[in-house]
């Protein structure tokens, strides 16, 4: 009996925490956010959360109304630890808490399993960063994203490698993660279609630091370009070891490579490396410099996903206002018709929930910094 009453007390306490009365007047519209807020990718996840937080604070400051009634938006941030199983738990938690929509998740590996739970609950989901094609191709009318997917990025990278860099003999490495493999496969399809030779395809893992064996293989095939689908902790030592082995081929990667960390880890070997990132360079985004100033003043330098999360919140709030309801059943069709000029560029969704105009920008390391070269709009 005692145990039961204890449990009830605990429950009351916990639910008490969960349902704190709103600070401002009117109804509270809850928006969930799920990303790795702890663990190795915490920095990127926090960046995403802060981007969304900034948008929510701004919108609330403007006394938003939905259907003629004043409302307050509240962001519930949950940590999915970049783990698929935890992601489904977290998704369930957000659904329990009665969120109207979710910004997230960050990784494709967590976004996909979680999307099923949101779909079943009929809750809108916008991922600012999950790029696996599959996420929006499961037939879920609740799944959206505000970043170009792997197919779009892989295609642009392939075009760039063959048409701009003039590569004919290409070697491809991927790290056997969903991200790296997806990107590398699309890249391979594109360059093959453009008539370039894929002279070697090698593989590594997302924990490796020694690439001498596969690079020696690649060296024997004499490529003029090496493409890597993977992240910076591998790309850094990889390009060092390439140069060490005397491979002078160009080095190209995706957004996992285009980080300051890559330059730190690769040292002087980073010079001349190419990489892409979905979206425009922050300086060229329509409201980029303005956003950057606001964000930096509050949270410090932007890592990567903050502007996308920021836009995602505005897109959601816009759809709710237009539909006059925070009920996903009512605002989901409106969300699909979104036509919004965001910080990151124009946001319009196709039938799957992908961006119709995903911009992708290519960068090169010049004098120890990433410099934007050119931006491709989806054709």
């Amino acid at each position: 009996m005692k145990a039961l009453s204890l449990a009830v007390c605990a429950a009351l306490f916990l639910t008490g925490c969960g349902h704190k009365a709103s600070d401002q007047g009117g109804d509270v519209v809850k928006i969930g956010l799920a990303a790795p807020l702890t663990g190795p990718q915490a920095q990127l996840g926090q960046d995403m959360a802060n981007g969304a937080r900034l948008a929510v604070d701004e919108i609330n400051a403007g006394h938003p109304q939905i259907g003629g009634k004043p409302v307050t938006f509240r962001l519930l941030a949950e940590d999915d630890q970049a783990d698929p199983k935890t992601a489904t738990n977290v998704a369930q938690r957000l659904v329990d808490d009665g969120v109207a929509a979710v910004i997230g998740h960050m990784n494709s590996g967590t976004t996909i399993p979680a999307s099923r739970i949101y779909y079943q609950a009929g809750i809108a989901q916008i991922s600012p960063s999950a790029t696996a094609v599959k996420y929006t191709h499961q037939g879920f009318d609740t799944a959206f994203r505000v970043m170009a997917n792997d197919a779009q990025q892989g295609t642009v990278l392939g075009d760039f490698a063959v048409k701009t860099l003039g590569a004919h003999r290409i070697a491809i490495i991927d790290d056997r993660t969903a991200y790296g493999q997806g990107l590398a496969d699309q890249f391979e399809r594109t360059v093959k279609a453009l008539g370039a030779d894929v002279v070697d395809r090698e593989y590594t893992t997302d924990h490796s630091t020694d690439f001498m064996a596969i690079l020696t293989n690649i060296k024997a095939k004499k490529p003029d370009l090496v493409f890597f689908g993977g992240m910076d902790p591998q790309a850094g030592p990889m390009i060092r070891q390439m140069r060490q082995l005397g491979i002078s081929a160009k080095f190209l990667g995706g957004d996992g490579v285009r980080t300051p960390q890559f330059i730190t880890l690769a040292g002087p070997a980073a010079e001349g490396a190419y990489a892409s990132t979905p979206g425009l360079p922050i300086g060229k985004m329509p409201k980029g410099p303005e956003f950057q100033a606001k964000y930096t003043a509050k949270y410090g330098p932007i890592q990567q996903y903050a502007p996308y999360a920021y836009d995602a919140v505005y897109v959601l709030a816009g759809a709710m206002e237009k539909a006059g309801s925070a009920d996903p059943k009512t605002f989901l069709p409106v969300l699909r018709q979104t036509d919004y000029q965001g910080v990151t560029g124009p946001i319009r969704f196709d039938a799957n929930g992908d961006l119709t105009q995903g911009a992708i920008t290519l960068y090169q390391v010049q004098k120890g910094a990433w410099v934007p070269l050119q931006t491709f709009q989806k054709h």
Binding site: P40, H207, A213
Partner: protein, 307 residues
């Protein structure tokens, strides 16, 4: 031809690193029959301490050579203390417990050390400053860096020194005695606790050297780096015959060569059906095969130099 030479060299460098770490596993195992899972983390700690010391030294304007020596000594000292601490507080109280208990402790220790390192040095990979000589050479058509040469030479020297220690010193004799029979050694007046502690200290010092060399070779370090390295080194020790010093060396070099040549030639061997994504499968497969036919490893005797 120069491709084969390069792959062999790649394998030897990788194998030397495995071998030095494997020596630490094998020494502890030879004496206590304990898989010290935390050994990989000691290696990582060595790398991290060295990076911190080098960072401080560079800020103070120290020249490269004394800085390397200083960093190495600091890493060795820190790792020895760590190894002694682990032995004293985690393993010694369990010396008479059932076999699985210290193994679980070791896994727990490994996780604990990873997280402590993460709290101190963060989650990101941190670059190893380029203080080692950065020259490059060509031998038989293969590209070799100064750091790689240093790794190869250091490994051979450490191996020789360790063999001399075990075979020809009082401490070495005491170690062998304990490995044969702990109670009898104790009766013969061997201070078991002191010798075991010394074993941990020596193993940890080796780990520190390995850690610094690994970080210098790949130019980076992170809290998780010790786990996989430790696992590979442990496999190497088992391959050679755990508890046997020459076995650790042989196992390490073999594993390095298998991985390197495996990644290099697995495609040709299987007619393009399997690629370098099966590199680890290949390595584990060889390990299993060896153990099936020689269940106690290549040079398999269970204890250090059981004559």
């Amino acid at each position: 031809m120069d491709i084969l030479a390069q792959q062999i060299l790649n394998g030897l460098v990788l194998g030397s690193i495995y071998a030095v770490v494997a020596l630490g596993y094998t020494m502890v195992y030879g004496i206590l029959e304990l898989i010290n899972f935390a050994h990989g983390e000691v290696t990582m700690m060595g790398a991290m301490v060295a990076i911190s010391v080098i960072g401080l030294g560079l800020a103070a304007g120290l020249p490269a050579l004394p800085l390397i020596v200083l960093a190495m000594l600091a890493a060795i000292a820190a790792c020895m203390l760590l190894g002694l601490g682990i032995e004293r507080f985690a393993y010694r109280p369990l010396r008479r417990a059932p076999r699985l208990a210290p193994l679980i402790t070791a896994i727990g220790m490994s996780i604990l050390l990873q997280n402590i390192a993460m709290m101190i040095w963060g989650k990101q990979y941190i670059p190893f400053p380029p203080v080692f000589p950065q020259g490059e050479h060509r031998i038989l058509g293969a590209h070799v860096t100064d750091v790689q040469i240093i790794i190869l030479i250091t490994t051979v020297l450490l191996m020789l020194a360790l063999t001399l220690l075990v075979k020809h010193t009082r401490l070495g004799r005491a170690m062998r005695a304990i490995a044969q029979s702990q109670p009898v050694a104790q009766l013969m007046g061997v201070n078991v606790n002191a010798v075991v502690a010394a074993t941990f200290a020596i193993g940890s010092a080796l780990a520190a050297v390995a850690g610094v060399l690994v970080a210098a070779n790949y130019g980076q370090a992170q809290y998780y780096m010790g786990f996989l390295l430790g696992l590979k080194a442990f496999s190497a020790a088992v391959l050679g015959g755990i508890g046997n010093i020459a076995g650790a060396m042989l196992g390490g070099l073999l594993l390095g060569l298998i991985e390197s040549l495996g990644a290099g030639y697995i495609g040709q061997l299987t007619g393009g059906f399997l690629g370098s994504n099966y590199q680890d499968v290949f390595a584990f497969f060889v390990l299993i095969l060896v153990l099936v036919f020689r269940p106690s490893g290549l040079l398999g005797e269970r204890v250090v130099e059981r004559a």
